[in-house]
């Protein structure tokens, strides 16, 4: 059973890079905390409000400001209760409020959106007729919570990426942490701007999944996926430092070496997955559902899929740098496609169909199902798909590696 020795050695090598491994463990946990708290239940407790004529003066031109106006104030949820009327100046707005043709007014100052992104807040002015106190406080709280969301995400990701850059200097073992955090945070801001973060409540009367739960599953899916690149790199590295040649001149069958490398990625992925489940549960109170066994089996299948993909990447790519780039981009595309950035329900139907090629989509979906409570029967399909991806890519990958 020399492949166990090889796999265990890989786990050891991976753990010997403490900073890299810990940062890869911490990153999804921290991101879950940020996203889960910042983006969850934003509109969930919106009270029904009487129809409101809202006047607005925009001194600012910025994506974030646009998002606020178009997608928060005029988004699906509020568009029925709010009619928006734009004014070019504060005095025009005031006149209309006094005439009671407008219930309340918002003045967005210049540089507001950009300020939010950079962590400096500019006051929004709210004018109101004293009789419209209720509407006024609702709009105020919506605005405040939008401000909080953007601000907390941009500051948190800034601090976070600085911290990570400090604790995880990019060793050649490692994926480029700083770059990933940068990209992730860009996407997060995009997520925050959109209204997609309203996590879908289940129609069938089951408990809706909280934002924290959703993002825990999503981040878990995304970060375990990184092991596909890391595992592939470990093979490429062994080829470069010629330990692979040494292995091949020792009395170990090629199959054992291949299975050992596959298993090595699997060990690391599964360890990461387990630690993540435990940490998010105990630190962030994420409920992973009542059937831990289901979660475990899904996790196992996903890790098998990820380890298989590592073998394909290693079979196709020769240079470590290429693996880094391809892997980094690949993970991002898959993460986006598989719902780790934005709930997939928001995609056009065709894209949802394409998303089926992403193993993390199957993984994420089934984790969410388990959180909600589901039967084994419902999990057969995703588990089969994940296992098939794993086995097929292991076979393709090892064929390629054999040729080398």
């Amino acid at each position: 059973m020399k492949f166990f020795t090889i796999a265990f050695k890989d786990l050891k090598v991976r753990l010997s890079d403490k900073k890299g491994f810990i940062s890869l463990l911490l990153m999804p946990i921290i991101l879950t905390a940020i996203l889960g708290s910042a983006l969850s239940g934003m509109f969930a407790d919106t009270v029904s409000m009487p129809h409101t004529e809202l006047g607005i003066v925009l001194h600012d031109q910025n994506e974030i400001t646009d998002q606020f106006v178009e997608e928060v104030l005029q988004g699906d949820i509020l568009s029925e209760s709010i009619t928006l009327k734009k004014f070019s100046s504060q005095s025009d707005l005031k006149i209309d409020i006094e005439n009671q043709t407008v219930d309340l007014g918002l003045v967005i100052p210049k540089g507001w959106g950009e300020g939010l992104q950079n962590g400096e807040e500019k006051d929004v002015m709210v004018f109101t007729d004293p009789s419209k106190q209720l509407q006024s406080s609702i709009v105020e709280s919506i605005t405040m919570s939008f401000i909080d969301r953007i601000a907390s995400i941009s500051t948190a990701t800034q601090v976070f990426s600085q911290e990570l850059a400090m604790i995880a200097p990019v060793t050649d073992q490692e994926i480029n942490v700083r770059e990933i955090v940068g990209d992730v945070s860009n996407q997060l801001v995009a997520v925050a701007d959109s209204e997609m973060n309203v996590v879908t409540a289940e129609e069938d009367g089951k408990t809706p999944i909280s934002g924290m739960q959703y993002y825990a599953a999503a981040m878990g899916a995304m970060f375990v996926l990184f092991n596909a690149t890391i595992g592939a790199k470990s093979i490429i590295q062994e080829r470069n430092i010629e330990t692979l040649a040494r292995l091949m001149s020792s009395p170990v069958r090629l199959n054992s070496i291949i299975i050992g490398k596959f298993l090595g990625t699997f060990y690391v992925s599964f360890l990461q997955f387990s630690v993540f489940i435990l940490a998010t549960h105990y630190l962030l109170g994420v409920g992973w559902g009542s059937n831990l066994f289901q979660t475990l089996v899904i996790g196992l299948s996903y890790c098998i899929a990820v380890s298989g993909i590592a073998m394909i990447i290693a079979g196709l790519i020769v240079e470590e740098k290429t693996a880094d780039t391809v892997g980094g981009i690949g993970v991002q595309i898959f993460a986006l496609l598989g719902g780790s950035m934005i709930p997939i329900g928001a995609f056009p139907e065709k894209l949802q169909l394409v998303a089926n090629i992403a193993p993390n989509k199957w993984f994420l979906d089934s984790l969410l199902e388990v959180m909600n409570g589901t039967t084994w029967g419902a999990l057969v399909l995703p588990i089969t798909v994940l296992l098939l991806i794993g086995v097929a890519s292991l076979m393709i990958g090892s064929l390629r590696l054999r040729v080398r």
């Binding site: 040649a245 040494r246 009395p251």
Partner: protein, 312 residues
């Protein structure tokens, strides 16, 4: 017969890297493969130890073909690769343990071997340190140690002293000598003539994928015609004088560059002929300032066979 290589051929694409190589190595012998960069030493060794396949020919270890019994034969061979093929972030001990296990060692036996090997390569005090913290020479020693874990019958070493300081180099040479004296069969490749001369009973000189000379050091040097070189530092070189020296018995060839005060005289039996050379020179009005005799060695043999030096 421990190892037998018969008409071995290997090419990459259209390029022939190993061209019809044959030799045998006896049990307990230490065999040197001497050749310049790119001669095909590593490729030849890789085919012998079953790492890469070969196109034609055969390799036998103890009369078993490596094609038919790859695992049996790999178990008998310990290979020290040219590169440091170790896991840099693992400790010396863990590396040795891992490679031991790859050769089937287990449990207490494996631990015992780790200690013995660490002792042997003199790195016991660094056992728990990561390989990446080691000096070049220390890495090389563990690289050798990893090949010794399973006590192979044949030890194949591919330039184990490349790029290290003289002290570590001597340490390694001593180690190899000890191993050979303890009965191990050794194949040692190098492009350092002195190493091969010091360590090896028999030597194969390889160039462009071909073994161009094979034998004991003595046999090889005897093959050299005009193997010794007498270097003269002179003043007043004359054509006539040089011609006269050239006519002396045993003198094969003279190199005399214009505007230089040196003469290189290729001779057999340098010491017997030296006196006559100097007398002849002086008689022709050439002033001899210094005389130096260079005995025949593998370097000069290589030069004679290929017209090039081993290292440029």
């Amino acid at each position: 017969m421990m190892l037998e290589v018969k008409h071995l051929m290997k090419s990459y694409g259209k390029r022939q890297i190993v061209k019809d190589v044959s030799f045998t190595i006896n049990k307990g012998e230490s065999f040197g493969l001497l050749g310049p960069n790119g001669a095909g030493k590593s490729t030849l060794i890789s085919t012998i130890c079953g790492l890469i396949s070969y196109d034609q020919g055969e390799v036998y270890v103890n009369n078993q073909s490596i094609k038919k019994f790859p695992l049996v034969i790999k178990q008998k061979i310990g290979i020290v690769p040219q590169e440091i093929a170790l896991y840099p972030t693992m400790s010396a001990k863990d590396n040795l343990m891992f490679w031991g296990k790859m050769y089937g060692l287990k449990g207490a036996k494996a631990s015992k071997r780790v200690n013995e090997v660490l002792e042997f390569v003199d790195l016991k005090d660094r056992a728990k340190d990561r390989i990446e913290t080691f000096s070049g020479g220390m890495k090389r020693r563990i690289n050798i140690g990893a090949a010794l874990m399973h006590e192979p019958e044949i030890l194949i070493m591919d330039e184990p002293t490349v790029g290290i300081d003289p002290q570590s180099r001597n340490h390694i040479l001593e180690t190899v000598k000890k191993l050979n004296e303890s009965g191990k069969t050794i194949i040692y490749t190098s492009h350092y003539m002195e190493e091969v001369e010091y360590l090896c009973d028999r030597i194969g000189i390889i160039d462009n994928g071909e073994v161009i000379a094979l034998g004991t050091q003595k046999e090889l040097c005897n093959r050299l015609a005009g193997g010794s070189v007498v270097h003269l530092d002179v003043e007043n070189k004359t054509e006539q004088g040089i011609d006269s020296i050239n006519e002396i018995k045993n003198v094969k060839h003279i190199v005399s560059k214009q505007n230089e005060t040196k003469l290189e005289i290729y001779v057999n039996e340098a010491h017997e002929t030296m006196g006559e050379i100097v007398t002849t020179a002086v008689n022709h009005g050439i002033k001899v300032l210094a005389v130096e005799v260079q005995e025949p060695n593998l370097e000069s043999l290589f030069l004679q066979l290929t017209g090039r030096t081993l290292r440029d």
